[in-house]
Amino acid sequence: MNRRLEERRAYYARYKRDVKSRGKSFFPVAMFHDTVMSLLVVCLIVALAVIWKYTASEGTTDADSGWLGKLYDEKSDPGTTNFVPRPDWYFYFLFYLLRIFKWPDSVILGTVGIPTIAVLLLIALPFIDVSPERRPLRRPVAMTAAILTIITMGVLTYKGATAKEPLAAENLVLVPKWAAKQGFADNQTAVDGAKIFAQVGCMNCHTYEGAGSSNLGAPDLTTIGKTSNRGVAGFVDYVSDPSKFGNNVMPQFRDLGADNLRKLGTFLQSSGTCSPKTDTCPAAGGQ
């Protein structure tokens, strides 16, 4: 241990001696390099801003988007829930991690566990890799770990960027199929609830009969009426404010209004309970 410390100290003593004897002054050559690079950075930022502005047209629809995206989105509206949440690109890797870890058992790994471990490992790096060797080819373990990290981050970022969110219109087409398969086609309230379910953004995180996308660890809801069996009113309470039930990930959908929530609750309670019909399958048109 002591020998290693002495070795490191000897390196730094040699370094200081070398810098003193054959180093060059920071000004002007190194400073010139820094200045050129800084100017390039400023030019790059200005160029991105100009391209962003001049390839996009004013407006908030996707058609107004330029090479670098829209100038502005629509004003936030807590009432509309058919919006797909998207983080900035440098959080895409986290965004995708949440698709890998499923709610509720392991979602904490994706939200807190892995990011915390990653930061701690980064901070601890100089204390894990204590050899004085600095040449990349003689640090096979460190270099392999670095390359694997870069590949992992790259793949997660790419997957997060290209993750396809289902469109409301695509999901809506599926409603008659669900109604037939789940056996609630004769219950108009449940069918209306299915339409709401398909459109208001539930399927950005939940899957149903193999459609939708599994996001943020949200569960599949194909048989939620059987597995959860909260009853219509119970589902309405849950969806209105999931945090009351210890679910802090799912947003509140209270803004849908009582009528829509009742339809949605009927649909959820019907899922998995109507075919074959059990006594927890909600009656047609009823509460």
Binding site: K24, V119, P132, P251
Partner: protein, 278 residues
């Protein structure tokens, strides 16, 4: 005194230092303010002669941060952190203000450039093994700068108060609330209540433009101070890497023998002694 014509470089240095010398001469303790000394130390400190463009990534990231600070200050003059007017104030900046779109665009894209440069800079430091003794502390400071830089992105994302901003933040804050022990508490503190609303926006604005930039500036100054004090590492594959043990006899005694030679004009004795030693 024989007048020697100063070289072009000397003239440039004189011009650059003139305002500082002026200030120093007029401060209360002439020659002791440390201003001229500090700047001279910074500019004329010796660095390894084999450093190259790879070493400019850190100052490039600093430049991107300065762009963020300047454009951020301008945006703060016109932005209104209130749900009823935040979105409209952004539209106003983009559409009506002279060059407002440029300032907003530079702030928006400068954030990405800053993050990319932080990662590239970190990659360069990793490749050079420059996080090793005695630069461990500066590596840790750098990691903290990266984490705070990404948090800046997270808190700044809500400010335009558009659909993307709102819903990404709903999910983001809810995710933090899944954390153990402090998670739900942290979620409530960030939201300033049960739902994302006026209090959330004010909190995010304060964090984005006061707390985090303050912490970042302090960490960046510490980072730079450590860089200047400890010195940058030369590329480990460089043929005359600074700090690498020289092959052959230890160089220290040889240097001691050769150095006095020209001063004393006694060339014979040291060389002879050196030769005998070998």
């Amino acid at each position: 005194m024989a007048k020697q014509k100063p070289s072009r470089l000397d003239q440039l240095v004189y011009l650059l230092m003139y305002p500082l010398n002026w200030l120093e001469e007029r401060s209360s303790i002439p020659g002791r303010s440390g201003l001229v000394g500090g700047v001279k130390y910074f500019l004329f400190r010796k660095v390894p002669s084999d450093i190259s463009w790879g070493h400019t990534l850190g100052s490039a990231a600093l430049t991107a941060f300065i762009v963020q600070a300047v454009t951020g200050v301008i945006l703060a003059m016109y932005y209104k952190p209130d749900p009823n007017s935040a979105y409209e104030s952004i539209r106003n900046i983009t559409d009506n203000l002279w060059a407002g779109w440029l300032v907003r665009g530079m702030h928006k894209w400068g954030a990405s450039v800053f993050i990319i440069l932080l990662f590239l800079h970190m990659g360069r430091v990793f490749l050079y093994g420059a996080y090793k003794y005695p630069r461990e502390l500066n590596w840790i400071v750098g990691v903290l700068i990266l984490v705070l830089g990404m948090l800046e992105g997270f808190f700044g994302y809500l400010l335009p108060w558009d659909q993307t901003a709102y819903w990404a933040t709903v999910v983001g804050v809810n995710l933090q609330a899944t954390g153990p022990f402090v998670g739900p508490f942290l979620g409530d503190v960030l939201r300033g209540g049960a739902e994302i609303g006026p209090d959330t926006l004010a909190r995010f604005y304060s964090l984005h433009m006061l707390v985090l930039p303050g912490a970042l500036i302090a960490l960046i100054l510490l980072h730079l101070w450590l860089v200047v004090r400890i010195g940058v590492s030369s590329p480990p594959w460089s043929p005359d890497e600074f700090g690498r043990p020289q092959p052959g006899p230890p160089p220290a005694p040889r240097k001691g023998l050769v150095e006095p030679a020209p001063r004393n004009g006694r060339l014979v004795a040291p060389v002879g002694r050196g030769a005998r030693r070998r």
